[in-house]
Every structure is written in structure tokens, then in C-alpha cells.
């Protein structure tokens, strides 16, 4: 019942936005994925699968629907771009035992997603080792053009970098309300991707953790709207208060 409702909600037509990093053109999708047309590669970060059951193990019985939601969202964006390769930029699973806790249904969903395409799991701090029993290649880093893809962004991004880990969100004050949205935080050379997972929290882009990455350089928050991406200058975004 719940799943049908989600499908309807996501039936809105999604309009991606162009995002060029180190001269490489990408499409930034409102779901939080990046697509490289030339390579046919779809990038997602911080799926945090089985975060719900990870908390349940410790006595906090969060609704057990997060993995299903995350995979469904991923299936929707995969259906839209039909990528030849999917790259998950680390923290795909919330803890080292998470893959083993997948329900059969969710395991089946992952297998369906992987069918007919290459799949690369980059390792993250939550999932430093390969996931037992799941298909796909495992690596610490990958590259597209001059860009290095890795989980944790490095202060020196070299010729270019796409990373996850920080879960950026932008907060914007408007008339009569506040919008707080996940976003791609990017300048000309680097991009920190939004977290894709249903239960993945967010970190305000004004947080000190972003400072060593961008210094004083101008950057844009490409905030995820309902059906499009909104590019917002940092000066319009506020810190959490």
C-alpha cells in the first residue's frame, strides 16, 4: 500500500540540471544522483542501507522501511537514465553487518538493479570492507576524466573530486518559512554529493567541516527541489540557528 503511494509521488517529471566539474559535464538529478552521459555512469552517495535495523539492534525500533524506500528511489532514477555503470560513493551500508541483515526482498531489489550493468561499490567509513554476498566491484577510489571519485572529500582535491560523506544540506530563509534541502555543494573543481539514503541526516553547508574543502572560493548549493534543482549562492543560505 505504502509503496504504491510513493510511486505516485515520484511520477512528477524530473528535470535535471547541468553541472560541470573540472571540465566534465554531468547532469545533477533532483533525486540526488549525478549522471555522466559519455560514460553512461550514474553516481549516488551515502545510501546508508539498513540504517533502520542498525538502530533497531541498539533498541531504537525505527520504521523498517528505509532500505526499501532508498532502493525504490534508486530504481526510479536508474530507470530514468538506464546507466551502463552505477557507482555508489561509500557508506552504502550503515554498518559492516548491514548487508547481512538485508531482507530477501531488498536483496532481490539490489540484484534487479545490478542486472545488465556494471556496478562499483566504493568503500566508506561505515562500510570499509566489501559486502558479503552482493555482486559488484569494490574499490576505494575511481576516476572519470580528471575527477577522482571517493567517499571522503580531501582538502587537496587535485585536479578534481566528487565525494560524499558530509551529507550537505542548504537552509534558505524565505517569506514566511524556512526551506532545508539536501544539495550538491560544488565549485568548478569539486562536488560534495547529497546523501541518497532515506534516513541519512544532513549537515548544514555553513558547518566548519566544509571550510577546509572550499576555503573562501565561491561555490553554489544545488538544492534538490521536488522536481528540479535550484542553484543557490552561499550568501542566500543560512546557518542552523
Amino acid at each position: 500500500m505504502g509503496l504504491r503511494a510513493i510511486r505516485q509521488e515520484r511520477a512528477v517529471e524530473m528535470v535535471p540540471a547541468g553541472l560541470t566539474l573540472a571540465g566534465v559535464p554531468f547532469l545533477a538529478d533532483p533525486s540526488g544522483a549525478l549522471f555522466h552521459e559519455g560514460e553512461g555512469a550514474l553516481l549516488v552517495a551515502d545510501l546508508h542501507l539498513e540504517k533502520g535495523s542498525s538502530f533497531a539492534r541498539r533498541g531504537m525500533l525505527l520504521p523498517p522501511y528505509d532500505t526499501g524506500e532508498t532502493l525504490l528511489a534508486l530504481a526510479t532514477v536508474v530507470a530514468r537514465y538506464a546507466p551502463r555503470l552505477v557507482i555508489a560513493l561509500g557508506d552504502s551500508f550503515h554498518d559492516p553487518h548491514a548487508a547481512a541483515r538485508l531482507s530477501d526482498a531488498d536483496r532481490g531489489r539490489i540484484a534487479d538493479l545490478q542486472r545488465g550493468r556494471a556496478w562499483l561499490w566504493l568503500t566508506g567509513n561505515h562500510d570499509p570492507l566489501p559486502h558479503g554476498g552482493l555482486d559488484g566491484d569494490v574499490a576505494a577510489e575511481a576516476a572519470i576524466g580528471l575527477l577522482t571519485l571517493r567517499h571522503e572529500p580531501q582538502p587537496d582535491c587535485g585536479t578534481g573530486e566528487i565525494a560524499g560523506h558530509l551529507h550537505p544540506v542548504a537552509k534558505v530563509l524565505g517569506t514566511g518559512g524556512v526551506a532545508r534541502r539536501r544539495c550538491f555543494l560544488a565549485d568548478a573543481k569539486r562536488c560534495v554529493m547529497p546523501a541518497f539514503g532515506a534516513y541519512a541526516g544532513g549537515l548544514n553547508i555553513h558547518h566548519a567541516a566544509f571550510t577546509p574543502l572550499f576555503g573562501a572560493r565561491p561555490r553554489l548549493a544545488h538544492a534538490l527541489g521536488r522536481d528540479r534543482i535550484y542553484a543557490i549562492p552561499m550568501s542566500r543560505c543560512v546557518a542552523d540557528a
Binding site: R57, L62, H167
Partner: protein, 840 residues
């Protein structure tokens, strides 16, 4: 006073004690003893200073002194809403007990009690234990609770009127039901200030086997002398600083012995304290007391009050309750009273002798508050009470209790259901909801039974529910309670040292000054200054759960605000304010400035009759405004604002925003609502129709951030997620989960989940005040008076000044508001040469 001389029921040591003091027991104290001796539970309704505490304990002392010496057993349990009150009352009971020479042990048990002493107390309980609802819940959740409580004879609930109005009252009611089972025949005694309907409190005290507690009412003391400050200064249009009246407040302080200056928020307390000290040419000893200051600091202030070395204490609701320190002869209430009973209880802090009137000075901080103060003074003169109505027990609290009971001992669902329905707030809960609560506690209550292997409680072969493992009980203990506060960080003074290079090095380990919400600290960068505890501090760094600060100098320090301490305007005072506005013959009691303001309003627009609601529309600076005056409190107005905005959107009016305060609501939009209403294109009656509580509400609720906040608090109380214990979780972001995300997922997959149901029920009375909004829409049906104006109306100036306030820490912007005010006032009252300009 109806004093009974040498009553026969009192044993010799107690009679002698009264005699040496030259006192005689009061009639209500003896009445309570009589009821206790007859084995009846009792509610004592008495004003402050009537000797309530002694009345509550006297029967225990009488019973204990004739009890044969033997094995230690807990005889009387005393519960108060405040830790500090327990400590204070312990002092007040230990004194007489020692003087009477009675072999009675009195002890406190609070969050501050050392672990060793707690353990000893469980093994070797005192005769009288003074504690809080949370500590009681913890004691009841232990396997030896039966042994600990089985000899309990009496439960004294102090400040019962304050205990029962929130979720703590729900938790306490459930605990009382358990105590009645562990100690059959236990008597309950409620001590309460005067309330609207004492019968409701009697019902709370009683149970199935104790169906009709008796009520004893002490005579009212002398009527309080309440005056409103008739300021010589210009009355502000908006804001809550009362800075205009500083000189006059200071004058009042010079003339009194000891004054308590109450403010409505900690922010206001900090600001007023700061302002008073800038004004303090005579160096009067003025202190500050609020709930975020470090306990040791508060104790120092309290001791100084008792010793008579202070002139004034600026404080918040933390001093509202019956703590009796020192000889207060004046209560000053700065800002809106918010409720008639509330203000009367505050005023009772002055002069604890019943035969002398308490003196109080109300200082309104803006024009609407003047009217509210006047209404409160009238209400006090007529003895009107407007305390809240009894609650229906919350499901999240029940979930916490169910887990606690499983920690105590395995339970059968039928027996526990019978027990919890013996608690007044849960008397009418249906069995289905109770069973769903058990399912929730066990495995989350999800249709997809994914967590059976992680279940917190499981049924054994006999069908009894027991905790799965020891960690569950530990988790329960860490998360007990119903107060969900924002994450607080400790404010610690850096101990500065000089490093090897000769440059000062930041050191930790200095004194803790108190705590502050981390949201405020995140808005600061190191070097920024702020006021805390009346001092200017500069932030140095945030290290784990502590903000390291240094004393500093600054002319423009920020003032932190704390959430959650805003009280809504009571329904009674609201209706009184409405009727005052509509009755010009009552205005002579108001200051000239306010009369002038109302006069211009009557000339420019109109003053609505008490049973109608005025709606004004006018253009201003390229936008069109709709201002309504429901007087139903900020929460109901904000909800109304959200719903109206949705409707205006659908009607093509292009709304841009709205703002609500306790009195009014303003919505601004692109379309000319005045013209459209004139041409019959918009029907205001339909716009404010009761049907907005249908689909509009449902649709909005799902997305509402207030709903998400309500859900968060339910999720924490129910034990879905853990309270954050700052410092314990060093990885922060990754280890916590956003309840907003959980809320979104849950409402998509299980919109009828018990926790969503709990959140919706909370919203109806809590942050969204839907009940009051529903009453409002019913009240104004067919009674909306529309005035289409060509400019800002005088009555709308205060609400217009709230536009653009930053929502969370907006109180800090009072100064900006004051400046902006002048422009608007000119526009509203300007060109026609009106009296306010010449007088103001």
C-alpha cells in the same frame, strides 16, 4: 483565622512544639489530620502561605511517632514538580521533626543524589522520602519495587495543580496507579493552589478502591494589592523588553525590602537583569535566577534571598512554585500575565503571611499587554480562575510506562490494562490502543514485522511480557521522563594560562556557569560575545558538549533565547481583553496613551463587539494585508495563518507570508483582497469557514514542521529514539537519526501508526492548538466584520511590527523593531493631526 486550641488528636511532642512557637494548628491542618485518621485521601486547596506543607506532613508525623520501632520501611512519599522544592521542603520538615524530638528520618532523592546514597536508600529506606515524578518512575521500574513500597501509607503530591497539566502528570498518574497496587489502602494527599475546578483534581488523586477523596479548602488570605505601572514614558507598540519602564522599575526596587521580578522567558530575564545593572547607580544587590544557570549559582542566590542580603531577584517560572525563601514584599511581573490564575499564584510569592495583602506591580511591555494586565487585575479582584482543563493521557507516556513496568517484573497484559485504567487520565483508553502500545514497545508496532529478533519485550510461555535483556532496562533508565529539551551545551569558563611562548593558552577545567541551547551557539563564531548569567562572555571554542568562554567586554553582546518557555494567553483572559476593547466605558481604567490609541482606531477603523471578529484589509508598499483579531493566542493564530494561506493560495490571492502573535494575525499577499471582497469575488465568511479543519488541515499537517517537532518529542518519550546525551555520542551526525526523516517514511508507509496517532493528539492541544482554533471558527461563524481601509490601522501596528522577525531567536530583535516602529506609527496615525502625535 479558625484556629483550634490544643486539639485532642495531636500527640504530646507535637502539641508542645506548637506551644513553644506560640502557634496553634490551623483548621485545615487539623481537618487533614482528621481525614487521614479516618483513612481517607484528601485534596487541600489553599493559597500560598497557608501552611500547606505542614498540613500535608502533619498526619505522617502523628502516625510515625506512634509506630513501633522496628524495621525501616517507607511510610510517606512526597512528590513535587521541582528538584529544588524537594530540597527546600526537606529542610522545612526536618526542622520541626528535630525540634519535636521525633525519631523520623527524612531524605531526598533527586537526579543529584549520589549513587551510593541511592543504593543505601533502596536497602534501608527513610520514613519520609521527598522526590520527583521521574525518580518515582525509576524506583517503580526496579525489580525490588514491591519490597520498597509495600508498607507505604501516604503519598503527598505538592503543587498538584502544576503537576497535572502536562505529560509529567500523565506519568505520575500511571505511577500512582501502580503504587495503589503495591501498597493497597495507601492514602493520597494533594496540595494545590486555588484552581478552576478542584473536583477534577480529586478525581486525579483517587482510584477504583479510593473513589472519593475529600476536599478541604483553607480560607483565602487577604486580597492582593495589584497595580499596573502607569508609565510616564512612551508605551512601546510591540516587543517585550519593557526597557521604557526601567527607571520606574528601579524606583520601585529602591522603595521595597526584597522584590521578585518575574519575566516570561529566560531571554527576558537576562536582558532585564543586564539593563537593570546598567541602571544601577546605587549598586543595589540585584541577582538573577533561571533554569539554565548552574545549580550551585542558583543555590547561592536562594541562600542570599533567605539571608536577606538581596534587594531584588530577576527570575522566571522556576521561582513560580512554592519555594519559600526570604521576606519578599513586592512582586513585579514584567510582560503579559498570560493567565489570571498564573498571575495570582506568582503574586502569592510575596508576603507569605496570610493576613497581610501581597503587593504586586504589573509592568506591561507594550500596548496590548496593558489591556491584558488590566484584564488580569480585574480577574484577580473577582477571584476568577483559568487553570487548564484535565488531560487525556498521552500514548507516548503510556509506552514509556509499559516498558518501565516490564523492567520491574513480567506482566500480564490484562492485569496491566486494568491497572493503567485506574489512572484518571487513562480511565477511558480503549483496549485496542493499549494493545497497540504494547506491540509498539515490543517490536515497534509495524505491520512489517521486521524487528521480532530485536524485540525489547517478549511474551514468555505463560503469556507474560518480560524485557529481552538487561540493556533494555538500562536504556529505559537513561530515557525516563517526559521533558524533551533542546540539546544543551555546558557553558564553561576557560581557565587561562600562559603558555611557554608567553602567549595565553586556552585551558579547560574552569567553572561551569550553566547551559545553553546548541542552536544558539552554532550561530556564533569564536570571539562573538553574548550575555549569560548577567555577564558578557566571549566564545572561545566548542569542545564536545561544552562551550568554552571567557569574560569579555562588549557594547553589543547577543542575548541567547531558549525555546519552549512561552505560555499561551488563557482563553479567559483573551475573552476579557476582547470585551474590554468593545466597551469604551471601561477605558478610563487604561492609561491615556492606550485610550488615545483605541480612540484613533475607532475613528479610523472600528473596535469590534466582543462577539464578533474584526478583519481589516489594506494596501501597503505594493502588498495587500489582511489582519484578523481573534485574541486566541499565538499557537492557534499560527495554525490559522498556515491554513488561511493555503486557502488564499487556492483562491488566487498569491499570499506571501503571515505572522501571528497572541492577539492578532496578519497575512500579506499580491492580490487586492479588499477590492475582491468588495466585488464579491472573495467571501471572508467562507475563507474563515470551519471546514478548513478538514482537508486543508490534513494536507498541511503532513508537511508541517510543527507536526514534525511534535512527532520528535513523542518519539523520544515513547522510546523510539534515545534522548541525546551530549558528549556521550562523539560522532554526532552519523549516530543520530533525524526524526523528520523517520516521520516522512512512517507516514508514507503506516499513516495510522500509534506514534503518529500520539503526535496528532498532541498537536490538537499542543503546538498547533487545534482545539482552540476549532472553538474560534465556531465562535466567529457569521460574525466577521470586515473593514476595507486605505492604509495601516492603529490596532494593527503591533502585529505589523512583528513581520520580518526571525522566527527562532527573534526576541533579540526588539531594538530593530522599536526603530521600525516609528515609521509605521507615523503612517497609521499621521497626517490628519491626531492626539497621539501631540501627546505621544
Amino acid at each position: 483565622m479558625l484556629d483550634i486550641a490544643s486539639p485532642p488528636a495531636l500527640p504530646a511532642p507535637i502539641t508542645a512544639w506548637f506551644a513553644t512557637r506560640g502557634w496553634a494548628p490551623r483548621a485545615h491542618q487539623m481537618a487533614l489530620l482528621e481525614q487521614a485518621e479516618a483513612g481517607r485521601s484528601t485534596l487541600l486547596v489553599a493559597p500560598t502561605g497557608a501552611g500547606k506543607t505542614l498540613a500535608g506532613f502533619l498526619p505522617s508525623l502523628v502516625d510515625l511517632q506512634r509506630r513501633p520501632r522496628g524495621k525501616a520501611a517507607l511510610h510517606t512519599l512526597y512528590i513535587s514538580p521541582l528538584k529544588a522544592l524537594s530540597v527546600d521542603v526537606a529542610r522545612n520538615v526536618e526542622g520541626p521533626v528535630t525540634e519535636m524530638g521525633l525519631p523520623i528520618r527524612v531524605e531526598t532523592r533527586t537526579g543529584d543524589t549520589p549513587a551510593a546514597k541511592r543504593q543505601r536508600q533502596r536497602r534501608d529506606p527513610p520514613d519520609i522520602l521527598l522526590t520527583t515524578p521521574e525518580q518515582l518512575a525509576l524506583l517503580l521500574a526496579t525489580p525490588d519495587s514491591l519490597a520498597f513500597f509495600k508498607d507505604l501509607r501516604r503519598i503527598v503530591l505538592d503543587e498538584l495543580h502544576a503537576l497535572v497539566t502536562n505529560k509529567r502528570g500523565d506519568l505520575l498518574a500511571l505511577d500512582l496507579a501502580r503504587l495503589r497496587r503495591l501498597a493497597p489502602g495507601v492514602q493520597t494527599v494533594g496540595l494545590s493552589a486555588t484552581v478552576r475546578d478542584p473536583v477534577e483534581l480529586c478525581a486525579y488523586l483517587g482510584g477504583r478502591d479510593d473513589p472519593a477523596p475529600v476536599m478541604v479548602t483553607a480560607p483565602e488570605g487577604a486580597k492582593a494589592e495589584i497595580t499596573m505601572l502607569d508609565t510616564r514614558e512612551r508605551l512601546p507598540w510591540a516587543g517585550h523588553s519593557a526597557r521604557h519602564a526601567l527607571g520606574e522599575i528601579y524606583e520601585a526596587l529602591r522603595r521595597c525590602k526584597l522584590a521578585l521580578i518575574f519575566t516570561n522567558t529566560r531571554f527576558q530575564a537576562e536582558q532585564l537583569f543586564w539593563d537593570l545593572w546598567k541602571h544601577n547607580a546605587d549598586n543595589l544587590p540585584i541577582a538573577l535566577h533561571h533554569g539554565s544557570l548552574d545549580a550551585s549559582q542558583r543555590r547561592r542566590v536562594e541562600a542570599a534571598m533567605a539571608a536577606g542580603t538581596l534587594k531584588a531577584v530577576v527570575c522566571t517560572a522556576t521561582l513560580d512554585l512554592g519555594i519559600d525563601w526570604g521576606d519578599v514584599d513586592l512582586v513585579i511581573n514584567v510582560g503579559a500575565p498570560k493567565g489570571a490564575s498564573r498571575i495570582i499564584q506568582r503574586i502569592g510569592r510575596a508576603n507569605h503571611r496570610l493576613d497581610e495583602p501581597s503587593r504586586a506591580l504589573l509592568v506591561p511591555s507594550n500596548r496590548f499587554e496593558v489591556i491584558e494586565c488590566r484584564a488580569a487585575i480585574d480577574a484577580a479582584a473577582h477571584g476568577v480562575q483559568d487553570t487548564p482543563v484535565p488531560r487525556t493521557g498521552a500514548l507516548d507516556v503510556l509506552a514509556q510506562h509499559v516498558l518501565g513496568m516490564a523492567c520491574a517484573a513480567p506482566f500480564e497484559a490484562d492485569a496491566l490494562f486494568s491497572e493503567i485504567t485506574d489512572a484518571a487520565p487513562y480511565a477511558h483508553i480503549d483496549r485496542d490502543n493499549f494493545d497497540r502500545v504494547i506491540d509498539f514497545v515490543a517490536h515497534g508496532g509495524y505491520a512489517l514485522r521486521a524487528y521480532d529478533r530485536f524485540a525489547k519485550i517478549r511474551q514468555d510461555a505463560d503469556g507474560r511480557w518480560r524485557v529481552s535483556n538487561g540493556r533494555v532496562a538500562q536504556q529505559y533508565r537513561m530515557n525516563v521522563g517526559t521533558i524533551v529539551a533542546a540539546t544543551m551545551l555546558k557553558v564553561r569558563l576557560a581557565r587561562s594560562r600562559t603558555g611557554a611562548s608567553g602567549k595565553p593558552v586556552m585551558g579547560r577545567g574552569g567553572r561551569v556557569l550553566g547551559e545553553i541551547e546548541d542552536g544558539f551557539l552554532e550561530s556564533l563564531v569564536p570571539g562573538d560575545t553574548f550575555i549569560f548569567g548577567g555577564e558578557v562572555l566571549a566564545l572561545q571554542a566548542i569542545v564536545e558538549d561544552e562551550a568554552i568562554v571567557q569574560r569579555a567586554r562588549s557594547d553589543t553582546p547577543k542575548i541567547p533565547a531558549w525555546g519552549g518557555s512561552k505560555f499561551p494567553l488563557s482563553t479567559y483572559l483573551a475573552s476579557r481583553v476582547r470585551s474590554m476593547l468593545s466597551e469604551p466605558h471601561a477605558w478610563p481604567e487604561l492609561p491615556d496613551q492606550v485610550q488615545d490609541w483605541l480612540d484613533i482606531q475607532a475613528a479610523r477603523s472600528l473596535l469590534p463587539a466582543a462577539d464578533t471578529m474584526l478583519v481589516e484589509t489594506y494596501p501597503r508598499a505594493g502588498r495587500h494585508y489582511l489582519v484578523a483579531y481573534p485574541f486566541e493566542g499565538r499557537l492557534a493564530h499560527q495554525t490559522l495563518g498556515m491554513l488561511l494561506t493555503r486557502r488564499l493560495e487556492r483562491a488566487g490571492m498569491k499570499p506571501l507570508g503571515f505572522v501571528g502573535n497572541d492577539y492578532a494575525l496578519a497575512v500579506w499577499m499580491r492580490a487586492d483582497i479588499g477590492a475582491r471582497s468588495r466585488n464579491g469575488l472573495v467571501d471572508l465568511d467562507a475563507l474563515f469557514g470551519e471546514d478548513m479543519l478538514g482537508d486543508d488541515l490534513e494536507a498541511w499537517l503532513d508537511e508541517s514542521s510543527l507536526m514534525k517537532r511534535t512527532f520528535r518529542s513523542c518519539a523520544i518519550i515513547a522510546g523510539l529514539i534515545e534522548k541525546r546525551h551530549p558528549g556521550r555520542e562523539k560522532t554526532g551526525r552519523q549516530m543520530t537519526v533525524s526524526t523528520d526523516l523517520v516521520y516522512d517514511v512512517l507516514r508514507r508507509h503506516e499513516p495510522d501508526h500509534i506514534l503518529l496517532q500520539a503526535a496528532r493528539e498532541d498537536a490538537a492541544t499542543g503546538l498547533l492548538d487545534l482545539k482552540r482554533l476549532g472553538d474560534l471558527l465556531g465562535r466567529i461563524k457569521g460574525r466577521i466584520v470586515h473593514k476595507a481601509l486605505d492604509r495601516v490601522s492603529p490596532l494593527s501596528v503591533p502585529i505589523m511590527l512583528e513581520i520580518g522577525r526571525e522566527p527562532v531567536y527573534g526576541e533579540a530583535q526588539d531594538e530593530i523593531l522599536a526603530e521600525a516602529a516609528e515609521l509605521l506609527v507615523e503612517e497609521a496615525c499621521g497626517p490628519e493631526g491626531n492626539p497621539a502625535r501631540t501627546r505621544g
